[in-house]
Amino acid sequence: MSHTVLVCDDAIFMRTMISDILTQAGFEIVGEAETGLQAVEKYKQVKPDLVTMDIVMPDMGGIDAVREIIKFDGTARILMCSAMGQQALVVEAIQAGAKDFVVKPFQPSRVLEAVQRVLG
């Protein structure tokens, strides 16, 4: 059975791209969220195997969303999607419980490596 993924990003472009990379690799996208709040709600609904999380989103940022999700499910597997120059934020996300991160611009091979590590 393929792994389920929740994709969180405020940009449709990014969501589409991540979904494409993951779908082609055989993952099942079970939800999308464009704010941190939505991410938390959707997570609670669909309980995916993996979450990809943008750091900067409206309503609730990615890091706070990580905290909320981890609070709800300590075993949640969250992959942060970061831009260069967001090092401190990524560290914060890791400390909040994120399991790994990838850096934009995305290279499909790197995204998949990270996903494998997180699910492994």
Binding site: S82, Q86, Q87, V90, V91, I94, D100, F101, E113
Partner: protein, 618 residues
């Protein structure tokens, strides 16, 4: 390397972990069959062990290690914790605290924990049949400083955000054990200049293969070096995972003093600029003023500390007291996040201990008595911090039997606080009687509250802090103490009062109003003057007399009305010289100094001025 410079950091950090230890033990005690708190307790003890070993405090590390062994059994097993085991862990927390203090002071031999060590080993042994890990204890003693293994990691050169990657590695390692001595420092790792090489020490039971696998699983790892690591790494440093910086309070005090001087100098400069009428200078001075204001606000903010740092030790205190006295008490803490100036916070711990002790000992009735009175068997004590306009209020209330007013009245008469004909006991009178040293509300002296010390200590301390105390007590319903505190001690608005050639500052905290002294409305009240103010007779204190200032007072004089709780007093001065923000400084009063000063300050013109304590006149 010299570890002593880390001793203070070790002590404060350990204290935090011990608070957590105690808090979680209390939670566990509420639900002995639910193992949730165990993980947190284990972490706290484990962290203390690691830090103590790093510091070379072998006995602390050993005690923590034995406690950890017992806790580990609970982490793995699913049995509920027994009362005896909890008691043992509570004692361990106390012993750790004592041992830490003693070790930092170099006197750890003075603390005897042998019995406790044995008891912990027995408990761990009884819990699981396997023997306790005695050999590890020896290794601790033998190599107290070089904890764990030194691990070096080099990330792939093409790895983006190497700092975040390193953080990921460290996070995985922290799941295996305690990470210590990270090099370079966390700040350097997070900087863009970080080249992807870092090292740390790991205190964990996992084997090298497991460690390596975990490190690799963080991704982008090029090379890993793990050694047995007896050698102490250079720059052996605290892991410092927190993003806060601990600052020695004395540094902040110094900074505060300097800012105080800056505020004073600014005052002088403003004065000068106004006198010169130089517009350009005035503008620069205005800029300077705004900047000074900002620095002042920032430093005050840096000194603000949430009250939980003091409150968190109280649940344990109340629990122990109520057990000792065979009372049932539900203790509630509210407003833990409210912040107070660190200096104020440091001072209120003792008064609160007195009030909580009184509440458990004298307030809350034994269960039978409560049942007979139709109350629930468990009494309730609430400790709450509230923000009230500019001030912070701390309330200690109980739903116990209330104060014995007949006894207080008798005491008041015996001591001449009221005359023999009085039969009304106001809350204000209660406070005045309780505030006298030597008076005890206890029907009998118990080992907990002793004889009479308590409320007088609270009153004195609050007065020193420029705060006030109120009391409300209803027979059979309970007692409430309300402590009003300035949120920060350092800078307060004050009136400047002139008497003769001297000036004194009077903090606005207790000033209700100022009125003119109307000689036609002054009457004699017993031995004092009193002013008929609206429909109230206000007792007067002539500051000239108190300070023994000679000469004729001016004909028109103001009266500053001081209000402390329900009591009002009029302070007669010569002249008001306006209102200032004053920086409160302490001074060492020479013997014989009148007990009416709460500190001193320096005015804009550089002159020192004493600060009058409103409580000294009421």
């Amino acid at each position: 390397m010299d570890l002593s410079q880390y001793a203070e950091l070790f002590r404060t950090e350990t204290r935090d972990h011990l608070l957590t230890f105690n808090r979680l033990l209390l939670e566990w005690e509420q639900h002995p069959d639910q193992p949730e708190p165990v993980a947190g307790i284990f972490r706290a003890v484990h962290t203390i062990k690691g830090m103590a070993a790093t510091m070379g405090y072998a006995r602390v590390a050993d005690l923590a290690h034995r406690a950890e062994t017992l806790l580990d059994r609970f982490r793995q097993g699913h049995r509920a914790v027994t009362d005896e085991e909890l008691e043992l862990l509570f004692r361990t927390a106390d012993a750790l605290e004592a041992l830490v203090e003693a070790s930092v002071g170099g006197r750890d031999a003075a603390v005897d924990v042998e019995l406790l060590l044995g008891a912990l080993d027995d408990a761990a042994g009884a819990h699981a049949a396997e023997p306790t890990a005695r050999p590890r204890r020896i290794s601790f003693v033998a190599a107290p400083v070089g904890v764990g293994r030194r691990i070096e990691v080099i990330l792939r050169t093409d790895s983006p955000l190497k700092g975040a990657r390193a953080a990921l590695v460290l996070q995985r390692m922290a799941a295996l054990g305690t990470v210590l001595a990270v090099e370079p420092a966390p700040a350097a790792i997070e900087s863009d200049a970080f080249d992807g090489r870092f090292a740390f020490r790991l205190d964990a039971t996992a084997d090298a293969a497991t460690i390596e696998r975990e490190i690799r699983s963080a991704g982008d790892v090029d090379r890993i070096g793990i050694d047995a690591g007896d050698a102490v790494a250079e720059g052996d440093r605290d892991a410092g995972r927190t993003r806060h910086l601990r600052v020695d309070l004395r540094r902040l005090d110094t900074l505060m003093n300097v800012v105080g001087e800056l505020v004073t100098a600014r005052g002088r400069l403003e004065h000068l600029a106004a006198a010169r009428g130089d517009a350009a200078l005035a503008e620069d001075v205005a800029t300077l003023s705004a900047l000074t204001q900002r620095i002042q606000t920032e430093i005050l903010q840096a000194r603000m500390t949430p009250v939980w740092q003091v409150f968190d030790r109280f649940p344990r205190l109340v629990r122990d007291l109520s057990r000792q006295l065979n009372k049932q008490v539900a203790f509630k803490v509210e407003g833990k996040e409210i912040e107070l100036d660190r200096a104020v916070l440091d001072e209120i711990g003792d008064p609160l201990v007195h009030l909580l002790r009184n509440a458990v000992d004298h307030g809350i009735e034994p269960p039978e008595e409560r049942a007979a009175a139709g109350k629930p068997a468990a009494g309730q004590i609430v400790l709450a911090a509230l923000r009230d306009r500019g001030a912070v209020t701390i309330v200690v209330s109980d739903d116990g039997r209330g104060l014995d007013r007949a006894k207080i009245l008798a005491e008041a008469k015996a001591r001449g606080v009221v005359d023999g004909s009085t039969d009304e006991v106001t809350d204000d009178l209660v406070l005045r009687v309780l505030g006298r040293s030597g008076f005890s509300t206890a029907g009998q002296v118990s080992q907990v509250s002793g004889r009479g010390v308590g409320v007088d200590v609270v009153l004195t301390r609050m007065r020193e802090l420029g705060g006030s105390v109120e009391i409300k007590s209803t027979p059979g319903v309970g007692t409430t103490f309300t402590l009003r505190l300035p949120p920060t001690l350092a800078i307060v608005p004050a009136l400047l009062a002139r008497v003769g050639h001297e000036r004194y500052a009077l903090p606005l905290t207790h000033v209700a109003e100022t009125v003119e002294l109307d000689a036609g409305r002054v009457t004699r009240l017993e031995t004092r003057d009193a002013l008929l103010l609206r429909d109230e007779l206000l007792p007067l204190v002539h500051l000239r007399d108190v300070l023994q200032i000679e000469g004729e007072p001016p004909r028109r004089r103001p009266v500053v009305v001081l209000q402390l709780g329900d009591r009002r007093t009029g302070l007669v001065i010569d002249r008001m010289e306006g209102q200032r923000e004053i920086v409160v400084k302490s001074f060492r009063p020479p013997r014989g100094t009148l007990p009416i000063f709460s500190g001193a300050t320096v005015l804009g013109d550089g002159d020192p001025v004493l600060i009058l304590d409103a409580g000294g006149f009421a």
